[in-house]
Structures are given as C-alpha cells and as structure tokens.
C-alpha cells in the first residue's frame, strides 16, 4: 500500500530544442520532486513544466500507457513516459525525443511520416463477401492467431528504436508491419496477398536486420520481431 507523503528528488535532464530560438538542440537539467511511490517519468516532466518552465513541450494524454502519445528516449531506451518508473531509472533521468522522425520542439516530433507508413500497408479489414445480418464466424484459435498484434497503440516506440529506420526512413518500419500482420493473419481478411506484395518491396520487411530493438521497445509487450519474421515467412513460403 502506498505511503502518500514521501517525496524523492529527481535530476531530470531533457534535450531541448525550440525552433523559434535555437539553432540546435541543447541539454537542460531540472531538479524536481516527485512522489517516492511508483512515480513515472511523466510525473517528473509535469513537475518541470508546471513548476519550473512552462515552455517545455511534450505530448501526453491518458497517462497510463494506452493512448501512445508520450513515447520518448528515456535513459537511452525507448519507452512511454507514463509507464517508465522513476524507481527503476534511478535519481538521474535523461529524456530526449524519439529518433528517426523530424524533430519539431523539445520532445515533440513530426508523426506524419510514421502514419503515412502505417497507411501504406492497407491497415483495415478487406473482405468482399456479403456478411449478412450476423457476425462472421471466427474460432477462438483463429482469433488467437493475430491477438498479439491487435495490441498496437501506434506510439512509434518500436519504429523509432530501429537502427535500420534511423538510417533509412523510407523503410516502412516495425509498427507498419505489425499492423499489416494484424490483418494478414486474420481469418476474415482477403487482402493478405496485396499487403505481402507491398511488404516484399525494397522498403518492406527485407530491410529488417532482426536487431530485436523493436520488441524490447514495445510498451505493450508485442513480440514485434516475431511478427516481422512471420510476415517474412508468409512471403517466402506462400508465394515463392
């Protein structure tokens, strides 16, 4: 049971950039206090913004790991600020924007390229049957086949942890492949071929070098690398 009153000091080092003032990013250190009991990095960022410097900009909304707004690089690894516990990170916490997407301000990056890559894999159910007045049937085994990849919240933690993506932002990236996987392995969907064609191109799954960064980065625990491997196998075994 939490003891409410105890506070702890955090040295929060944030990589900052204001396009209206700065020519390049720079580090700023905030000395903030957060509750000792299971505070997260978002609490420290709020303490800095609300009580030290209101110009600090970062996205956030739900604050419990389901909306996907606040992916950032925390002590060198991608995580959600609302899910990364201070007690796991220690008294010094460094925070910077996710890599591979254009930096706009402080921890805010341009998400448009990421969502364009998502849209490119036809991320919606395609089925030309007339389903009638009842639900389509799907066995519990068929439903389980793609369960893991339905958890994606499009936070971009996986894609922006990928060293291939950093070097080649033309690569669709892990998140787009995860969302393709979600439909390729859904028994109700009829467009697996189309999606596998898209992912068989130069910018598709073959860019993946199996670094496993994406699986470690996923705040939802999705086995991202395994999903990418399953898509690769589907392309090879079913089509070649």
């Amino acid at each position: 049971m939490p003891e409410a009153a105890d506070m702890v000091d955090v040295e929060l080092r944030v990589k900052r950039y204001d396009p209206e003032r700065d020519n390049k990013p720079h580090w700023q250190t905030f000395h903030v206090q957060v509750k000792a009991f299971r505070s997260v990095v978002l609490d420290a960022l709020h303490a800095a913004k609300w009580h030290h410097d209101g110009t600090l900009s970062f996205r956030r909304s739900c604050a419990h790991g389901v909306c996907g707004s606040d992916a950032m690089v925390i002590n060198g690894a991608n995580d959600l600020a609302c899910q990364a516990l201070i007690e796991d990170l220690g008294p010094v916490v460094t925070v910077e924007a996710i890599r591979g997407l254009p930096l706009i301000k402080d921890l805010v990056v341009d998400m448009e390229p990421f969502f364009a890559q998502y849209r490119a894999v036809l991320p919606y159910l395609i089925n030309s049957d007339e389903p009638g007045y009842r639900e389509r049937l799907q066995s519990t085994e068929e439903r389980a086949r793609y369960d893991d990849t339905t958890k994606c919240i499009l936070c971009a933690a996986c894609t922006t942890s990928c060293p291939v993506y950093w070097g080649n932002t033309g690569y669709v990236g892990p998140a787009a492949i995860v969302n393709a996987h979600r439909f390729v392995f859904d028994s109700r969907d009829e467009a697996a071929e189309q999606r596998l064609d898209i992912l068989n191109h130069r910018s598709g799954v073959w860019r993946c070098r199996t670094a496993f960064n994406c699986s470690e980065a996923c705040p939802r625990g999705i086995k991202v690398t395994q999903a990418i491997e399953e898509v690769k196998r589907a392309i090879l075994l079913d089509r070649l």
Binding site: M1, P2, E3, A4, D18, P19, E20, R21, R38, K49, W50, D53, G54, T55, S57, F58, R59, R60, S61, C62, A63, H64, G65, V66, C67, G68, S69, Q83, L85, I104, K105, D106, V108, M111, F115, Y118, R119, P123, Y124, L125, P131, Y133, R134, E135, R136, L137, Q138, S139, T140, E142, R143, Y146, D147, T150, K151, I153, L154, F183, D186, R188
Partner: protein, 589 residues
C-alpha cells in the same frame, strides 16, 4: 531557425465539420464519407482519443451466450439511470445496439469468441435478465481493451475511406450566422498546435464529439486532455448544458491515481472487500452484490470508508480482490488492468488485494440533443440548425442520472452514426453559410491576452485547487453547504484565472497556452455542475445529496438546463423526462 510575426489566419470551406476523433467522431465520419465534404478536426491524433481507454465491453442483447432481449436491456438502462432516462431515446439505443455490434464485427473488430465462433458476452454491472432477476451475459468484449479495439477499428475504417483529418488542431470557438429571422451554424475557429496559426472552417454543419471533462476532479480516470473544450465553448456562446449535476464516479479507480480498473473485473468474479475482509456489497445490493450499478457501488465504498472500514494508511480505500480467480483466467480476460496494477501499485493482482477508490469517470450531462444528434437549445425541443453533438459531450439523454457500464461505447457508435447520417442529410439540402470575415477575432484576442498576462497566477495551482475542491465538495456525496462552498471556490478561481501568466510566448506546440485555455473551460463547466447540483434538492442516481437523501419524483422528475448569458450570469430551467413505458419504482438490486 524560424521567426513568427503576426498570427496567420487560414480559411477553409467544408460541407460538414466533426470536432473530435474518438469513437463518436470517427463513427460519424464513416457515415458522412462519400456523402459530403467533411473535415475531422481533433486536438490529438485520432488514436490518442480516450475511447481507447475503455475496457470492459459494449452491451447488446445478441443472446449469443444466454437468453436476452433488447427490452430487458432497455429496462436496465432506464432503471440504472434512476428514471431520468428519456425512454424513447434509450429504446433507440438498445434496439440498435445489436446491429451496431454486428457492424463493428463486419468492420473487423476482433471480439472475443464463443466456442461456436460467435461474439462472446459477459456480465456487467446493472445488466440483468428479465427485469432484475439475475446478472445476464450481455457485454460483447475484446479482452479488457474493448475501447482500444473500437477506436482502432473505426480509425482503420476512416483510413480506408480516406477521411480528411486535421490532427492537432484545437477548436476554440463556434460561429453562428443570421439566416432570416433565425440563427444557424456558420463554422468553427481552430488553433493549429504545430504553428500557432488560426484556421476558420466555414461549414454548413458542425458535429461535436469532443468527449468529457473529468479533469475537473482530483481522482479521475480521464485523460489530461479531457477538459470539456466542446461543451465549454458552446456554453459560452449561449447553448444550454443539460443535467450537469450527474457525474459518474466509477467505483474501482486505482488508489490515488484514479486509473480505471474495469467493472469487468467484477463481471468476471472479482469481489470488493473492506478492512475486515467482508464482502460488503452483500449488505447494499443483496441480489446482484458487486454487480450493482456504479452509483450504488461508489456510495457503498464511500460509506464503508466514512464509517471506518477502509483500508490503507489513511483508511480511504477498499480492496478489489481477484486472488480467488484462476491465474490463467486473469491472463486471458483481464490482462491490461492487471498490468496497470503491477506497474502503478507494484502489486501482483493474482495474489494481492488491490486498493481502489471511486474515480471521476463520466459526464451523464452535456450538450442537449435529440436521437438524431441535433442540438436542442430549449425546453420546447427547438433545434439549432446545423449543430450536432454525440458521445460523452452530448446528453441525449440515454444515461439519465447514472450510466450503466458498457452503455457509453454503445452510445458513441449508435449516436455517432445517427448524428453523422442526420448531418449528411442536412447539408445535402442547405447552402454554405454567409460567414463574415473576422470571426477568429475573439480567439485571437484570447490568445494574445493570455500570452501578455502578467498577473502571476499559475495554471497548475488553479487547476490543482479546482480538482481538490470539486473532489471534496461536489463528488460522490454533496450537501447544500458543500456545494455553496464549492461555488464560492470556483468563482474565486475564475477570477484568478483572469490573472494567469504563462511562460511560453511562442507559436510552436505551445501547450502552456492550450492548458491555460483548457482550464478556462473546466472552470466554466465546474460552475455549471455545482449550480445545477445545488438546485436539485433530491438524491437521484449519481447525484447524492446527504441533506436530501430521497428521490423526489413529484418535484424533480425533470432534466436540468443551465444557460450562461453574455454577462456570465447563469439561469436554470427544466424540461420533462420523455417516455412512460416504465413507471418509476424504488431502485433495489
């Protein structure tokens, strides 16, 4: 390095504008796609919307698992809402629920399945078989992330239809135009977060689907961004707010944090226990016990705490106990919420009891509408041409004084669709409004004033105080004294808000500015809530007056309308509750 001088203003012209891209906004957008040129404006990315945080399910009488009927669902909704529900509207919702769930499945929603491959269903609070006999399996679900699946599926369908989104554009004002002798909608003014530019969207019609305002309370399941911008800006322009005193506190929020732990935890067998380990709901609701409606469970928890049977260092919580459920069952049915407990409390819910307390969750009240999403501006049913609302920001009223669990996800898809369809019909037979230049002037001066403010007041301090006062004085239990005190506090905070200073004077992602503007809406809506609650001298649903503990049907079987005049004075009026299929009776479970 970029430099900005004056505020840039851009002009757009659309047939229809949808404000908000959660479940209701996206469902409306699917409906207008291909019928009229539509802009969907959202202050977040669509998939960040708080629909995605909904967990437990969406009720519809599919009868896939056991006998059920939409009429039983209707009865439960009316009774659960403590008879303040407009019964014809609830009938629409409960009848159309079945097709709505099937349609979501056809859109690709990954529902959990029965062994026969049909959509699986489970129990939920207040949902019963045959008018209260026993809990019924009515909630269609997808593990404990049903809202996430609905949000993703509707967004996917919008991608398939190439819906035109304006992401991270925050609507801050609405324009009405004179049309002969009456007024109609002319468009909205939006602030572009990335650039600080203003955008005027001229439009024949606008549908608000901007969500709730639960961030006026300290312990809240709501996202930081749920600040009531849509209802707030309409309220300032003279649109009444309906039934604002009815605000739902969900029984099981994570202690102190308020993060939601779904009612599905109890639907799947979880039990609430006090300090003595007693299953106290047996005393409050002998038939359905832990699956009583939320208002009753929240009051029971607060009563246990007030009478000294709470747990924790301050004895201000009770336990949610899942430890008797099979571990593999918890992993399969409740994976997300048990992860929240591990992350934010450091407890293992398969073994440890979970400290919980009621958390501000859902506004039953809001923008008054009819069953087609048309905004109704008086007690006589007068519609504002071109203005629509759906979802939590709206009040149809299908939830009355207390919403049943799962009926919000149902509300957003049923009335999002109906609102979108009605709006598409309206724009097909109307001309573009003649919108004069300069409608952005008010927003521009608000922003300039906020950036120039030197009064030294802090947004964070005012917001903290508001959240504390509302939690202590206007939440699960209220009295004339507590509400009088709350009103004085809110009015003082509004004066302090006029003297706010912000640090960020820039144009790029200036959340310092948008948080200050959002706080203004929260303060206005808090005042509307407190004034409505102070007037209602009875207890009904989520509105519990300790100084008026009984329901008073003779005097109070009516909806509240609160209207704010241009000089900021408030006026209350009332309108009748519709429908008499079910006569009010004592609410026992």
């Amino acid at each position: 390095m970029r430099r900005f001088e004056a505020v840039n203003v851009h002009h757009h012209s659309y047939d229809a504008v949808i404000v908000g891209a959660g479940g209701a906004g996206l469902r409306a957008a699917i409906e207008t796609a291909g019928k009229c040129r539509t802009a969907v404006i959202t202050k977040l990315y669509p998939t960040r919307s708080h629909t995605g945080a909904a967990q437990g399910g969406m009720c519809a009488a599919l009868a896939n698992v056991e006998e059920d009927s939409w009429e039983w669902h209707l009865f439960d909704t009316v009774k659960g809402g403590d008879y303040l529900v407009d019964q014809p509207a609830a009938e629409v919702m409960c009848r159309e629920a079945i097709d709505a769930v099937i349609e979501l499945e056809h859109f690709g929603l990954p529902f959990n399945r029965t062994p026969e491959g049909r959509i699986d269903q489970r129990r939920f609070g207040g949902h019963t078989r045959n008018h209260g006999e026993a809990p019924v399996m009515r909630a269609c679900y997808s593990a404990d992330r049903t809202g996430h699946m609905i949000l993703q599926t509707l967004f996917q369908q919008c991608v398939a239809r190439d819906v035109n989104f304006f992401n991270e554009f925050q609507v801050l004002d609405i324009a009405f135009v004179q049309d002969g002798t009456s007024r109609r909608v002319g468009g909205v003014v939006a602030y572009e977060q990335a650039t600080g530019d203003l955008h005027v969207f001229r439009s024949k019609a606008v549908l608000f689907a901007s969500g709730g305002f639960g961030k006026m309370f300290r312990v809240s399941s709501n996202a930081h961004t749920l600040t009531g911008d849509g209802p707030g800006l309409l309220y300032r322009r003279g649109i009444p707010m309906q039934d604002m005193e009815f605000f739902q506190f969900h029984p099981t929020g994570i202690y102190k944090l308020g993060i939601l732990l779904s009612e599905a935890a109890r639907g799947e067998g979880g039990i609430l226990r006090n300090r003595d380990g007693e299953r106290f709901m047996e005393r409050y609701a002998p038939t359905v016990k832990d699956l009583a409606p939320r208002d009753m469970v929240a009051r029971a928890i607060q009563t246990e705490i007030l009478e000294g049977r709470g747990v924790g260092p301050d004895q201000d919580a009770v336990h949610l106990d899942l430890s008797h459920l099979p571990p593999e069952f918890i992993d399969a049915k409740l994976p997300d919420i048990t992860d929240f407990v591990r992350t934010y409390l450091g407890l293992e819910p398969k073994v440890d009891p979970i400290p919980i307390q009621p958390t501000a969750h859902y506004a039953m009240g809001g923008i008054p509408t009819n069953v087609d999403g048309e905004v109704v501006v008086d007690a006589g049913g007068t519609v504002m041409p071109g203005l629509y609302a759906a979802g939590e920001c709206a009040c149809v009223s299908v939830h009355g004084a207390n919403r049943l669990g799962t009926n919000s996800l149902l509300d957003i898809v049923v009335f999002g669709k109906r609102g979108g369809r009605a709006m598409a019909g309206f724009v097909a037979s109307s001309d573009l409004p003649d919108l004069a230049g300069g409608v952005e002037g008010d927003v521009r001066s608000r922003i300039e004033r906020m950036k120039a403010g030197s009064g030294g007041e802090s947004v964070a301090d005012i917001r903290d105080t508001l959240q504390n006062e509302m939690m202590d004085k206007a939440s699960v239990f209220r009295s004339a004294d507590s509400l009088r005190s709350a009103l004085a506090d809110v009015q003082e905070l509004r004066q302090r808000w006029d003297r706010v200073s912000i640090d960020d004077k820039g144009e790029t992602f200036n959340y310092d500015l948008t948080e200050a503007l959002e706080l203004g809406y929260l303060l206005d809506l808090a005042e509307a809530l407190v004034v409505s609650a102070a007037a209602r001298t009875e207890s009904r649903g989520a509105h519990m007056r300790v100084d008026h503990p009984g329901r008073d049907d003779a005097n109070w079987m009516k909806h509240t309308l609160v209207t704010r005049a241009a000089d900021a004075t408030l006026a209350l009026s009332y309108k009748p509750v519709l429908g008499d299929r079910y006569e009010p009776m004592e609410r026992k479970y």
